[in-house]
Structure formats: C-alpha cells, structure tokens
C-alpha cells in the first residue's frame, strides 16, 4: 500500500477534523493564483521589446487565450476526472494537481525563454488547467464527509481560499517579477519557475496532511438524519445517475447564470467604473475598486455558504438570484444619478453573491445527491463555470462594443447588459424554485458505498 493510496489516508481515532480545512486551503490558495494571471499579461506582450512591445511580441488577445484555456480545462478536467478523484482519494489527487499546476508553470517558463506561445498554452493552459480542475474538486467531498453537520461552512472555507489565492498570487508574482527583472528580461520566465516550485511544495503540504474519515466516523454529538427532510436526502446518487435528474440541470443553469452575471462585472470592473463616472473615477481608484471586489468575492464565499447551513441552500440561492436581479437594475440607476458610492456598494454585494454561489453549491449537491460521489457530481457541474466564463465577458464586451459603435457612451454602454444580466438571474431564480427533492429511484442501491 503506497503513501498516496486512499487507504493510507484514513484517519485514526483522535484525529482532529480541523486539520482538513488547512489541507484544502493549501491547495485552493495555490490554484486561486489563476485569478491573478492578468499581472503577467503586459509583461508577456513585452517579452522581446522589454520596455515596449516589439513587432514580434505577442499581442494581448493572443496572451488572453492562456487564461481562457486554463479556465476551460479547469471545468473539463473536473468533469472528466471526477469519478477518478472519488476512487483514488484526496491525497493522490492533490499530489497530481500539484504536479500539473507546478509543472505547467515550468513548461510555460520554457515557452517564455524560447518565445513559443504554444508552449505556454500547453503549460499553463492545458497542463496547469488540469491541475486547477483536480485541485478544485479534490478536497470538496472530503470536507463534506468530515463536516456533515456544517457542510456549507466547510466547503465555503476551502473555496474561499480560491478567492484568497488571487491576493497571494498577484502580490507574489509582482514581487518575483521585480526581483528577476533585468535590462534584458521581464523576469517572467524565472518567476514562472519560482511560482511552479513554491506552489508545488505548498500543494504537497496539503496532500501530506489531508485525511479521510473512517467509514463509521461521525462528529461527536451529531446524529445523521434518519429520513429525508426537505431537499436533504438520506440516500446517495452516483455521478452518472445524478446527471440524469432534472435537479442537476436546474442547478447547472442556476450556477451558470449566477456566474455569467458576476464574471461579466468582474472582468470589466475597471473600465466600467471609469466609463460610468468619467472624471470622477480615475485609474488608481478603479484599481482599488477591483481590489475591493476581490475582497468581497473571497468573504462572500465563506459568509454566504456558512449562512446556508442555517437557512438551507435553496433559500440562500433565492437571495442571490432575487436580490442580484434587483441590484443589477440599480447599477444603471447609480450611474444616471452619478452616485459612485451606490455603484461600488451594489457591485460589492453582487460579487459577494457570485463567490457565495460557488461556495454553496457543493453543499447544495450534497443535500440533493448525498455525500458518496459529491466530488464527481460537483466536477460535472463545473462545466457550467466553463460556459459562464465565456458567456459573461462576451455579453458585456460585445454589447458594449455594439453600443459604442452606435454612438453610446457612459452609463448607456452598460445599462442594457445590466438589465440582461438581471433577466438571466430571474431565469436562474425560476430554476432554483423548481428544484425538488431527488426521487428515491435514483439512489444507489448497492451494499457498500461506491468509491
């Protein structure tokens, strides 16, 4: 039996379950770096020219594909390898995720030095993207099993790390680039190597300390429910069966539209606030606005998902979608009034609910389908993120371009998109209200839980 085998990770008596969230956080704080990849965008477009882009340098749209590929492969690998993750357990998955994510940086470093963009696409986009997907789902089912009494708080803590990873990633990347920068180099290549090594070690720390609970373990003083209550099932549904239920696809739409709306604002936050409040908000303030949104994105993940342990998941999503729709309609209003304070407050709440949507969904899935294969089901649901990652920015950017070409400016550039986002959230709200308990005929009937 090898060190990375699932059987070796079964916790003995007396093991504190509070050791598992740091293991999950070590992985999520690392892979959250993807949100900070934009700090490399400009330096990568000056890889040859150093101080300014040379004719042979890569363009911004070419470089932007690195992030898009990484997000696509995050969703794809989470969906494809979800069952494998459940079978081999969190330690091996986290180790493979560390190899992929760290290795992706190393491959990309060679892409920078040899000026081969395809190598960076392969390294950070494909290999690193698979590391993102495996790392993202690896601790989820483990945490749900350790915290059956508070699954929302537990998964929220880990997924909060994904938001927090952006803070570490951006500051660390800038620090490294400044350290390695010379008159003949932007320092990106060496920074990639350093980041690869640092994140590999950090994720392996999580892999070493993670444990799964024994089959008969339960928290002291907690009794598992003996019969289904509301949306919470006492049975277990396997991943392949879960995707045949309407509940899975209703949640897919809910997640997709909630993320589409949020990511549209996140991606365009800096130019949006400057264009809606011309003269009032300049570039440094816009940068601070983006930083504020990141803080709410991270905080919302923990606060909303913890709240869902008390209110129920469906109720929390009603808040996200209903309040979200109202707040999106308030954005043009704040612009017309010239009130940047209302705009900032509204966007901050929206982004907190965007993060909350990500963090609450594993617990929602656990309620509906049981804990047995929640990691694999979560992996398949994350394809909604891949779709939303394209849909949100495309809607905001293309509608803005269309309106700009027709002579619109300021608030008018964004108002129709905000109403459209509100409409998407209303559709999501209807889907969420349609979620009913999963029919028992879908539940796993075998004697032993499938891994």
């Amino acid at each position: 039996m090898g060190f990375f085998d699932r059987e070796r990770t079964v916790a003995g008596p007396g093991f504190s379950r509070w050791l598992v969230p740091p293991a999950a956080l070590a992985v999520h704080l690392s892979i959250g770096q993807v949100y900070a990849f934009s700090v490399f965008k400009l330096p990568l477009t000056k890889a040859i020219g150093i101080t300014a882009s040379a004719p042979n340098d890569w363009t911004q749209p070419q470089v932007a594909w690195i992030f898009s590929l990484a997000i696509f492969f995050l969703g794809a690998s989470a969906a494809v390898f979800g069952r494998w993750v459940e079978r081999v357990g969190p330690r091996k998955t986290m180790a493979v995720a560390a190899l992929c994510f760290g290795g992706g940086f190393v491959v990309s470093a060679f892409g920078v030095w040899w000026h081969q963009l395809a190598l960076i696409y392969l390294g950070y986009g494909v290999i690193g993207g698979c590391g993102l997907g495996l790392g993202y789902i690896s601790p989820v089912s483990t945490l749900v099993k350790w915290f059956p009494d508070r699954p929302g708080m537990a998964t929220g803590m880990a997924i909060m790390g994904f938001g927090g990873g952006a803070f570490i990633g951006s500051n660390l990347s800038l620090l490294l680039m400044n350290t390695f920068k010379t008159a003949t180099s932007t320092g990106v290549g060496k920074s990639f190597i350093a980041l690869g090594v640092i994140y590999f070690c950090y994720m392996m720390f999580g892999s070493f300390i993670v444990r799964v609970p024994a089959a008969d373990w339960k928290p002291a003083g907690w009794a598992p429910p003996t019969k289904s209550r509301g949306l919470i099932t006492t049975g277990n549904v396997v991943a392949s069966e879960a995707t045949k239920t309407p509940q899975f696809w209703l949640l897919w739409i809910v997640l997709c539209f909630n993320v589409t709306a949020g990511i549209g604002i996140l991606e365009q936050a800096s130019p949006m606030i400057q264009e809606m409040f011309p003269g009032k908000i300049l570039a440094p303030a816009a940068g601070a606005f983006v930083a504020l949104l990141s803080l709410f994105n991270m905080g919302g993940r923990f606060i909303w998902s913890s709240l869902s342990d008390y209110t129920g998941r469906k109720a929390v999503y009603v808040i996200f979608l209903l309040l979200g729709a109202i707040l999106y309609c308030l954005i043009p209003f704040s612009g017309h009034r010239g009130n940047a304070t209302i705009f900032v407050a509204v966007c901050a709440i929206i982004i907190s609910m965007y993060g909350g949507g990500f963090a609450t969904v594993p617990a929602y899935l656990k309620d509906l389908f049981g804990a047995m294969q929640v990691g694999a089901i979560h992996g398949r649901l994350l394809t909604a993120w891949s779709v939303a990652g394209i849909l949100g920015p495309v809607l905001v950017n293309y509608i803005r371009e269309y309106l700009k070409n027709r002579g619109a400016s300021g608030v008018a550039l964004y108002a129709p998109t905000m109403y459209l986002m509100a409409g998407l959230l209303v559709i999501g709200l209807i889907c969420n209200l349609c979620v009913r308990p999963v029919d028992e005929s879908h539940c796993y009937k075998g004697d032993a839980p499938a891994k």
Partner: protein, 41 residues
C-alpha cells in the same frame, strides 16, 4: 500517556497547519487592503 502525546502532537500540527495557510492569506489580504484608500480619495 500515549493518548496525551497524541493529543499534544495533534494540537501542534493543528497550530502549524493553520499558520502555514493563514500567514500567506493575511499577507495577501493586507497588501490588497493597502490599495483601497485610492477609492475613497
């Protein structure tokens, strides 16, 4: 005695693990908060 040793090593591991993840997170958040005053000027 064995249980006491186990409990203390468990506690130490718990402390170290939370420090390992907590310090970088606080460092990142702190550096981000430093950027916020520009929004309120």
């Amino acid at each position: 005695m064995a249980n006491e040793n186990h409990a203390s090593s468990n506690g130490a591991m718990l402390f170290i693990s939370w420090i390992v993840v907590g310090v970088p997170l606080v460092w990142g958040v702190y550096n981000t908060i430093l950027k916020l005053p520009a929004l309120f000027r």
